[in-house]
Every structure is written in structure tokens, then in C-alpha cells.
């Protein structure tokens, strides 16, 4: 019964979405207030019905209703309850329902918090949201209905891919979706602005928090995925430039660029058509990611049950959304009035530089992602583009980006005094040179990692100095510094924290890649292996049984200089229902390095077990840095100047200006 109810609710949501996609748009064009006012109720209706559908699907999973095909294919009665919940989005059909649900949450947020928005802009943006929702609901109902029945019902289900039965991965997809779908907000506002033919600072002030929210969600989601890959796949690595990782990384790069360009659009009324373009590209790349993952064009560990029919639909939708919006851009954007001008050396200049590098960086990832596909389309050759490509192209592009990131916040708007900035950066210069020299002296070898760490030190110092200057630390009495600290806008904390976090993240990924050491050994109880000054002794190997798996667990002594540091328990799990194995690595972290043990396969000849040991310096810094990025975003978001509705009085004036200009347009 729940499945039929869910299906019915999805169809009702589609009806609501169609109304939301058409009526307010027509209303805005005809200046009909009644039609425009339909946006809010249709948004609420859509949210209610999709929530109902989502709840029905969840119920089917929780009670293990195997007459629902989706449940039978992805669940099992023995599975722990948490994974019965998360299995709802651990598969293609269910994840599409989650996708539209998140879309409806964002729509609801606009309807709820957007009281101060110009009514026509709000109606148009919500209509565009509605059209996107129509696209995805049709996709869900037409090609990937989660409520399809199975008759006769099987006795038990097929279980969820064991790799996905993990707390880290349980929340990776919803976070990523919050990011992907969140980018539909700047997109909808961009399209609405193109239709209206104007972009003003109020528009940018509206777009920025949505971009920030989705950027934070994307950052957290990507990090969680990376962390999961680190401890679950047992390869000791954290980023593989896997096509699916890239598919989420490209929208992240665009969202980062958009975040910075929206700042210019808001504060200086410049880079407007560029910001609109970034908003379109960011969302189009989200859709492209969806297409690549779900069409089977890319095969990867992440692939959902892929199906060319679904691929064709998403491609069609991508062409409609991306092609349509870019065509609209080509037509309307030239008429957007250019705003404030600026000199190359200025904060705007630095932010534009940041944008160009991020976009070019995104383009290189894009080329690496699509080159194999293109080659396959041309002559059927199968190639894969791996980390060496990205290390040669993407990584060097990030060096100037990070260098400028330290200087950017110190530059004045419009025209900056660059000798003064160089002066303020002298401590950062010292840090850069000292770290490069020190690292090179200690480690020798290729200069690349030394430069990478030097740049991280530069960025961290630069961000710290900029912050210290703002509160006049050590240059004014402590009391004054504290008063200044209290008076700082939260977005200033956000910028500093995020830039410092980026520096910390760079240290983690550069050092973790360059100085990782590993060894592989076949060990029997009592055997020992050496790595990075540590000794590992295999004590015992035992069996254990989980709810839906059996596991082999080893007990390992980690010693340094003959002293016990830790007992570690790496596991290898076997899930009989799907016949697959997973690795649960044992990781001991000192915050400066991880010692990482993964169990391999038993070696029948010697009666031992394969063991892979890794020593990963600074890898924990990646997670710390990424958390700082998210936290920084949170600080900026909580800034009262960005908080929705705060500058209400000014916006009312703007609203009148907008409607005045609209009537003159008409």
C-alpha cells in the first residue's frame, strides 16, 4: 500500500511542479500578482507530496517490503536499521527521490525567507526551480520509478552493496546532493535575472548565501567521500582523480569561483555577466556529473545501475537546461549594464584572477574527464587519464591561485596600493622561503613538494597577518585589539578561516602524496614488519561475525623503539548475500601522520595473510583543513549582513527601483 501511496504522491508533486513552473512565470511576464502569488502554495504542495513519497519509500525499506523491487534489489532483512534508512538513497531510484526532495526544500526556503525579494524576481526564480523539478520528477516517474512492484515477492532481498554499508558513506550522498541541488538556486536566480535583463547588488546579495550553503555542503560531501575512500578501500590513498570524484569536484571549483565573483557583483556591481555565466555553468556541471554517473558512459566503482535510456533522458535534460540557459545568456547578457570599473591591481582584479584560474582548473579536470570519452567516440580507443595528467596540469594552476589568495583580502577595492601590500606580506615571504629551504634541506629530492608546502605556509601566514592587521594586533593596546575583534563582521572570520583551512589542506595533500611510504608483507602470527621507524607485529588472526557479514580480524602490535604504541585491529569483511569483501583499515593517527594497516588476502602457500602497511604523513590535515573550510563558510553565512532580510529597509527601496525600471522596460 505504501508503494502505491508514494507513487501517487510523486505524481501529485509533478502536477504541483508543472503549475509552479508555468503560472508564476506567466504572471511575472503579465504583471499578474495573483498568478505570481501561486508560487508559494505550489512550492509548499510540492514539498508536502515529495516528503510523503520519500516517507513511503523509507517505510518500505524499514519494514523490508520485498514486494517493492527497489527494496528487494537493495536491502536485506538482516541489515542493520541504519543502513535500511541509508539504502533509500544508496541506489539510483531512491537517490532521485532524495534529489527532488532537496530541491523542494530549497524552494520552500525561498518561499519562506524571500519576503523581501522583488516579487517578479522571486516568482521567476521559483518558476525556474519548478521547471527543474518537473524535469527530475518526470525522470523519476518515467525511467526510474522506485515504487515498482515485484510479483511474486522474493523471500529476501539482494542487500545493499557492502561498500556502502558504512557510516561515512551513509551521509556522503545526501550532503553532495545538498550541494549539487543547492547550485540550482544561483542558477534559477541567474535565469530570472537574464529574463529581467538586470543584475544588481541586491541580486548578488541574494545569490551569495545560497551559493555558500551549497559550497559548504559540497565541501563536506566531497571530504566525507574522500575520507571514506581512505579507510574503506584499503589503498591508503585519499583522492584518486576517479571520474566520479571529478564529477563532484568540477561543480565545487565552479561554486568556489562563483562565491568569489558574487562578492564583486555585490560589493562593486561589477563582473555581473560573468557571475551569471558561472551560476549557469556550476549547475550545468552538476547535471553533467549526474549524467556521467548514471548513464554508464563512465564505468567506475561508484556506478549506479546504469541504463542508456536514463542516460538519454538526462542528456536531453542537460541539453535543455545547459543549452537553453547558455543560449539565453548569449542573447540577453550583452545588454546587462557593466558596473564599476577597476584597475588590474585591486581586490576585484585579484578575485577575477582567482576566477580565471578556478575556471581554467575546472576546464583541465573537464578535459581529463572527457578526453577518454571523446577518444572513444572518435575511434573507439579506450584510454584512461590518471593522476599524472592532473598532477601536471591542475596542480600547477593552483599554485598562483593560492599565492594570490593571501594577497587578495589585503588589496583595496578599485585600485590597490601594491607596494603597501608587498610590505604587509613580508612575513609571508619569509615563511615561503624558510619552508621551501627547510623542507628541501631535510628531504632533498624533487623540489615540487617543497614548493607546495612553501605556498601553504605563505597562504597561512598571509591570512594570519591580514587578520592581525584588521584587529591591529600588537600595534595597538590589547584592549583595542579585542574591541576590534568583537566588532569584526563574521564574514571576516570566515574568509580568514577558509583561507587558513585551504593552506592546511594543501599541506595534507602535498605531504600525504609525496612522503607516503608503504610496504606489503605476508605475515603469520609472530611475524614482524618495519615501516617508517615503526615495528608491526602480528599477534593473532581471528574470526568474528557481524549482523550480515563474517570478518577476519587481526590483532597487531604497533611498536616504536621497542615500546608499545598501540594495538590495531584491521578487518576484512565478507558479505555472503552479495558475495563481496570489504576492507576495514586500522588507522592510528598522531594528527601529524597516520599509521595505516589494511588486511589483504590469505596466502595459501605460506599460511600467512597479506598485509599492507602505509605511513601517511600529514593526511589528517586534509580532514582538518576541509573542516576549516566548512566552518569558515558557516561563519560567513551567519554574518548578519548576509542574513536574509537584515538590510530590509534598503531592499524595499531597491524593490521600488526594480518595479519602476520594469515598468519603464515594458
Amino acid at each position: 500500500m505504501s508503494a502505491e501511496l508514494g507513487n501517487y504522491a510523486l505524481i501529485l508533486a509533478l502536477v504541483m511542479a508543472i503549475a509552479q513552473g508555468i503560472l508564476p512565470l506567466v504572471g511575472a511576464a503579465r504583471r499578474n500578482d495573483n498568478l505570481m502569488a501561486l508560487a508559494a502554495p505550489t512550492v509548499i504542495g510540492q514539498f508536502v507530496f515529495i516528503s510523503m513519497a520519500f516517507a513511503c519509500l523509507m517505510y518500505a525499506y524499514v519494514v523490508s517490503d520485498f514486494s517493492v523491487m527497489n527494496v528487494a534489489a537493495n536491502s536485506h532483512s538482516d541489515k542493520p536499521l541504519l543502513y535500511k534508512f541509508t539504502a533509500v538513497w544508496g541506489n539510483h531510484e531512491g537517490s532521485m527521490v532524495l534529489w527532488v526532495w532537496i530541491l523542494s526544500v530549497y524552494g520552500l526556503a525561498v518561499a519562506a525567507f524571500g519576503r523581501n525579494l522583488p516579487p517578479a524576481l522571486k516568482a521567476r526564480a521559483l518558476s525556474i526551480q519548478g521547471l527543474i523539478s518537473v524535469g527530475f520528477l518526470l525522470f523519476s516517474i518515467g525511467t526510474s520509478n522506485p515504487f515498482e512492484r515485484l510479483d511474486p515477492a522474493p523471500i529476501n532481498g539482494n542487500d545493499l552493496n557492502p561498500l556502502l554499508q558504512d557510516p561515512g558513506l551513509a551521509f556522503h550522498p545526501p550532503l553532495l546532493y545538498f550541494g549539487y541541488v543547492g547550485l540550482s538556486m544561483p542558477f534559477s536566480f541567474a535565469i530570472a535575472a537574464l529574463i529581467e535583463g538586470r543584475v544588481d547588488p541586491a541580486w548578488a546579495r541574494w545569490v551569495r548565501p545560497w551559493t555558500l550553503v551549497s559550497w559548504m555542503a559540497l565541501t563536506a560531501g566531497i571530504t566525507l567521500g574522500s575520507w571514506w575512500a581512505y579507510y574503506e578501500l584499503g589503498w591508503g590513498g585519499f583522492w584518486f582523480w576517479d571520474p566520479v570524484e571529478n564529477a563532484s569536484f568540477m561543480p565545487w571549483l565552479m561554486a568556489t569561483a562563483l562565491l568569489h565573483s558574487a562578492l564583486v557583483a555585490e560589493k562593486r556591481d561589477a563582473l555581473k555577466s560573468w557571475t551569471v555565466l558561472l551560476a549557469i555553468l556550476a549547475f550545468s556541471l552538476s547535471l553533467l556529473g549526474t549524467f556521467l554517473v548514471r548513464s554508464g558512459v563512465l564505468t567506475s566503482v561508484h556506478s549506479f545501475a546504469s541504463d542508456p535510456a536514463r542516460g538519454a533522458y538526462i542528456l536531453g535534460f542537460l541539453i535543455f537546461v545547459g543549452g537553453g540557459s547558455l543560449a539565453l545568456y548569449a542573447w540577453r547578457a550583452p545588454s546587462l549594464k557593466a558596473g564599476g570599473t577597476f584597475k588590474p591591481i585591486s581586490r576585484e582584479g585579484a578575485l577575477l584572477f582567482n576566477n580565471l584560474l578556478l575556471v581554467v582548473g575546472c576546464a583541465t579536470v573537464f578535459v581529463g574527464e572527457l578526453y577518454p570519452i571523446v577518444l572513444d567516440a572518435i575511434n573507439g580507443a579506450k584510454v584512461s587519464v590518471g593522476p599524472p595528467f592532473y598532477e601536471k596540469t591542475f596542480v600547477p594552476l593552483m599554485a598562483p591561485l593560492l599565492l594570490v589568495a593571501a594577497a587578495g583580502p589585503m588589496l583595496a577595492w578599485k585600485r590597490a596600493d601594491w607596494p603597501g601590500v608587498v610590505q604587509r606580506l613580508r612575513l609571508a615571504f619569509v615563511a615561503l622561503a624558510a619552508v621551501i629551504a627547510l623542507v628541501y634541506a631535510l628531504h632533498g629530492g624533487p623540489i615540487g613538494p617543497a614548493i607546495g608546502l612553501g605556498i601553504a605556509a605563505w597562504l597561512f601566514t598571509g591570512a594570519a597577518v591580514e587578520f592581525a592587521d584588521r584587529i591591529k594586533l600588537f600595534r595597538a593596546p590589547m584592549r583595542e585589539s579585542l574591541t576590534r575583534l568583537a566588532g569584526l563582521p563574521r564574514s571576516a572570520f570566515g574568509t580568514t578561516l577558509a583561507h587558513m583551512g585551504m593552506a592546511v589542506l594543501v599541506v595534507g595533500s602535498v605531504a600525504g602524496t609525496a612522503w607516503r611510504t608503504e610496504t606489503i608483507a605476508v605475515m603469520r602470527p609472530g611475524d614482524q614488519a618495519e615501516l617508517a621507524g615503526y615495528t608491526v607485529i602480528l599477534n593473532t588472526i581471528g574470526e568474528s561475525k557481524g549482523p550480515n557479514y563474517t570478518a577476519q580480524i587481526a590483532e597487531m602490535r604497533l611498536e616504536r623503539d621497542g615500546e608499545l604504541r598501540d594495538l590495531m585491529y584491521p578487518e576484512k569483511r565478507f558479505y555472503p548475500v552479495q558475495g563481496t569483501q570489504t576492507t576495514e583499515a586500522a588507522i592510528r593517527t598522531t594528527w601529524f601522520a597516520d599509521f595505516y594497516i589494511a588486511l589483504g588476502d590469505p596466502d595459501e602457500a605460506s599460511g600467512g595473510i597479506g598485509v599492507r602497511l602505509y605511513h601517511n604523513p600529514f593526511v589528517p590535515w586534509i580532514w582538518i583543513g576541509a573542516s576549516m573550510l566548512v566552518l569558515g563558510g558557516g561563519f560567513s553565512l551567519s554574518d548578519r549582513r548576509l542574513r536574509v532580510g537584515a538590510p530590509a529597509r534598503r531592499r524595499v527601496a531597491k524593490t521600488q527601483a526594480v518595479s519602476a525600471s520594469e515598468s519603464s522596460n515594458a
Binding site: 520485498f66 523491487m69 528487494a72 534489489a73 515485484l150 511474486p152 522474493p154 523471500i155 529476501n156 532481498g157 539482494n158 555577466s273 555565466l277 549557469i280 555553468l281 550545468s284 549524467f291 548513464s295 554508464g296 558512459v297 564505468t299 545501475a305 546504469s306 542508456p308 535510456a309 542516460g311 538519454a312 542528456l315 542537460l318 541539453i319 545547459g322 543549452g323 547558455l326 543560449a327 545568456y329 548569449a330 547578457a333 550583452p334 572527457l370 570519452i373 571523446v374 572513444d376 567516440a377 573507439g380 555472503p576 548475500v577 552479495q578 558475495g579 563481496t580
Partner: protein, 200 residues
């Protein structure tokens, strides 16, 4: 064409604004190229190698195995049976697997075709009584079935998820592996042409 007239002030302005407009058109042009490439790839994808996951065993000889029969049947299945049959299909199935039910009618239908090649079944990690009642209720399209109770042979085949279907050529080599539900389209567009080629 060599002696163009001096451009007038207005013409320069017009050209300048045209160049400016071209910049705005560029993104959509790039997008069109990408969309065409994706469409071509997707087209090839659905024609040629739908869900063609590389298997460790593709282009390798069948692993040696000898499995007991499913409860209530007389003969089991060994690699020798498959080798003796020439070009053939091996379908991995289980009664607990929902998608297997979805593809089952396709196999029932296929087995009735006059030019069908032998279809063998590998009953993967099934309860013996469930497997036999499943076959009794829904029909048995297989020439012979081996019961892989503990999944040991499945591991040798690199079984990734049930259902899976392997195509074996005359010499007893695995030439193709299909992961997931066999649809009518997969069968007609991928499996049958490949079998025809192997037979011919």
C-alpha cells in the same frame, strides 16, 4: 578582396559590438560540441557494450569446477559439460535475487527458440529447497544447473552481483560477461549478434 575600404567610425563600432557579442555566444557553442560528443558516446554505449564490465575472466578459459545438482535434479554441472556444448550461455541466478525474477521470462522464452544455444544455470548461494521450488513455480529454461551453495565457483567466475550472464565460445573460453538484468534489448542487440558471430 585585397582593397577593403577604410572602415568608417560606425562600422568599427559595429564590428566591436559584434566581437563583444561573439564572446557571449562562445559558451553555448562550446556546449553544443560537448553535447554532440556525449550523445555520440551514449549512442555507442547502448549499441555496443551496454554494461560491459571488464571481467578478470573475459577471454580466459572456463575455470575448472564440478557442482552438485539443485535439489530434486539428477545431474549437476561441470566445466566439461559446458565445453562439450560448444557456443553456450551461463546464467548466474538465485531465488533470493529480485532482478533474476525480472529476467527469468526472457530466458524461458529464449530456451524455446529453435536456434537457441544451450543455456546453463549457476544457482548461486541458494537454499536448496528454495531453488527447486523457484524453478518448479516459474519454469526451468536451463539445460543443466549446478548448485554453488557456498559461492566458491562464483568467486572463480568473478561474480559481481546476481544476475550475471557469460557467453562461452566453441573452445570453452569466456568471451563476454553481462552484469545485471538481461533485458530484451540487451539480448537482441548484444547477446544474440555475438552468439551468431561465434557460431558462424
Amino acid at each position: 578582396m585585397s582593397d577593403l575600404p577604410e572602415p568608417s567610425e560606425a562600422a568599427t563600432d559595429m564590428r566591436r559590438s559584434l566581437v563583444k557579442r561573439l564572446w557571449f555566444v562562445l559558451p553555448v557553442l562550446v556546449f553544443v560540441v560537448i553535447a554532440v560528443v556525449l550523445a555520440v558516446t551514449l549512442g555507442r554505449q547502448s549499441n555496443e557494450h551496454a554494461r560491459d564490465l571488464p571481467s578478470a575472466l573475459v577471454d580466459k578459459p572456463l575455470p575448472a569446477f564440478n557442482l552438485p545438482p539443485v535439489e530434486g535434479y539428477e545431474a549437476g554441472l561441470s566445466d566439461a559439460d559446458i565445453k562439450a556444448a560448444g557456443v553456450s550461455l551461463l546464467n548466474v541466478f538465485a531465488s533470493w535475487c529480485g532482478p533474476c525474477r525480472v529476467e527469468h521470462p526472457i530466458w524461458m522464452d529464449y530456451a524455446k527458440q529453435p536456434d537457441a544455444v544451450p543455456l546453463f544455470g549457476l544457482n548461486y548461494k541458494d537454499q536448496p529447497e528454495n531453488a527447486s521450488s523457484w524453478l518448479k513455480k516459474l519454469g526451468d529454461p536451463y539445460r543443466k544447473i549446478g548448485a554453488d551453495l557456498n559461492g566458491r565457483v562464483g568467486i572463480d567466475f568473478g561474480v559481481y552481483g546476481v544476475p550475471e550472464t557469460f557467453i562461452i565460445d566453441k573452445t570453452g573460453r569466456i568471451v563476454f560477461k553481462h552484469v545485471g538484468v538481461m533485458t530484451r534489448k540487451d539480448l537482441d542487440e548484444t547477446i544474440l549478434p555475438l552468439i551468431a558471430r561465434l557460431k558462424g
